[in-house]
Amino acid sequence: MGSVNPFFLGCTLSLVLSLSAFGLIMIFTWRRPKLSLAISLTVSTICLIIAWLTFIKLSALKEPLILSVDWMMSDQIRVPFGFLLDPTSLLMFVIVATISWLIQLYSIGYMAGDSGFGRYYAFLSLFALSMLGLVISSGLLQLYICWELVGLSSYLLIGFWYEKFSASEAGKKAFVVTRFGDIGFFMGLAFLVLNFGTLDIHSINSAAMSKAFPAWLLTPAALLIFCGIMGKSAQFPIHVWLPDAMEGPTPVSALLHSATMVAAGMYLLTRLFPFFSCSPTAMTVILTICTITLLLSSTIGMVATDIKQVWAYSTISQLGFMGMGLAAAGLTGGYLFAGFYHLTTHAGFKALLFLCAGVFIHHFHTNDFFVMSAKGGRRLLIPMVTVTIGALALAGIFPFSGFFSKEAILAELWNLPNKMWLGLGLLGAFLTAYYTFRVIFVLLFPRPQAVGGGHGVEEEHGHGHGQEEEHGVPWVMAVPLIILAGFTCVLGFLQAPIQKFLLGEVHHHAPNYVLLVSAVGCALGGIGMAWLDWGAKGAKWEGFIRKVPVVENFFIQKWYMDHFWRWFLNTVIYGLFSRTFTYNDRRVVDGGVDAVAFGTIGSGRLLSFIQTAFLQLNLLFMVLVLGGIGIYLLMGR
């Protein structure tokens, strides 16, 4: 076995180790927090090292490295197990490994004393396994498997505090809703494998680039696969699971929202970018859906009072933004860089924002940022600074990372012939800045009397309250914040190197000053608007949207999407199909069988009247019949 590629070995090792960490903890050490932590963190560190080593060793790679072995070889369906190591996957590999390592570190503090500590780390290992497997997998089917595992681990982690009804409900919702999208993905895969023959990402992309796909195959397959992306990346109309997903522990939300679960969708879009861009129809659909998502989630974010919910909606809107960037690039023949770059930067600052929120929540035992503010949230210095950095990045302010990536996406939108998309993108940027700084200003300028503006957000409980009185932030929680804040600050200036790494060359555009000014203007306008509403001395602490109560209510009700799905589930699935089928089973199928049984018994009763027990009568009939038959037989002779 001397000829095994070391990279293959390394990648496999990281997956196997993560899996065995999960298995070990679940089977043996789940009752022992310290041991579980040691196992999980060791594995995570090894994965981190492998990821960075692979990244560094392969950074000068010209051609994508494809390593694969057979996994399951049926007749027409062949699933290889392998890795496609190209710049995109390498970058993502590093990001995932880093963020999951940071979150494991952070969770030491956050989850300390929780009764399910060991289980928590087992699930984190599973999450790492599935996400690492996802980003480097060479075939779509392997990707789909990891994709489902990501869904599984997010289900387990969102519903981690299973005693709480809302948590278990949210976990179920996340799994089922994303599964709803995955059906499309699966159908797309089936369609593709039956008509194209292979699900190898590289060959699909090469075939797409050489226009080997007929349109009848391309567009349906692309749209079906996009269904899966919609589910995972929480795009309209199946975004409803993501806001609820914050029922899990906050580090999980950070993981989910930054580098793993939701990123998986956009990552897949990036991965199959050449394939998708061959179908303008599909790209237009994607663009439309992402734009709707962007606006929808930004407007809901404006009225949410739960800090995690605001960040959740901001995630959805940023994902929509990435999708827009990719779709626009696809339509104009551009590059995948902008969207993917935003995915990268977003991973950093969104993890940062969630971890900061986690510190606040951990400290104040509430999710409502109005209450945090009243209790003196701004006195927590490190998280306050870092959350502001994250917010600035999210709003797209120079020199933070978000600025650069948003500029890149807006540039792609600029290239579209229809400028409506650009306008909507700018509107999204404005709203993003507004709701982000609504949170920041509320935290910075507390007004104790205003508590109660919240809508009864429940306290996140379940973890130990041992260090209730302990002031300050434990270092295991602070270090990840600082690291991530550092990333957020520097990542923007690495645009050119990253672009070179991803695309192999740097595409210099002449700076588009109109776009620059309008984008920055929108961001600053949003911040200004937030300042007027929430920050300034005489601000009313009322969103400008309150002037139109109907619209505000519409936003507070989350565009009635939750209501719609709830209605759909209760009335159509449970009420219509399930009830009808059950009734049919009981009455028609079972009833039919019982009717046959009773009919048999009844006819037996009926016929039993013939049994008079007069033996001679029976015998007489017998004799008569026998004689008759005998004579009949003899007649012919």
Partner: protein
Amino acid sequence: MESARMLVFNQLETYLYLALMLFAIGLYGVLARRNLIAVLISVELILNAASINFMAFNRFLAPTPAVGQVITLFIMAVAAAEAAIALSIIVAVYRKLRSVNIEQATELRG
């Protein structure tokens, strides 16, 4: 010899028709009589009809004339067994129903 063969008691059919009559009379008894003992007597008639047939075939057709006799003996043995059982059943039925009328033994009526 020729005339001897023509004699009525030297012809197979005579015995067959005789046995047949016996059989029909027995059958009539089985079908018509109400007394269980009378039914048993009728059954004995039927058995005898069979015996006669065997003996007749034995006399006129069979290659080895001992075989039919052996079988007739068997029939007698079986008839004896049958009679013993049937009579004991009759006694048991009488004890239970205080009657040997076959039409009153109707416990199996559906």
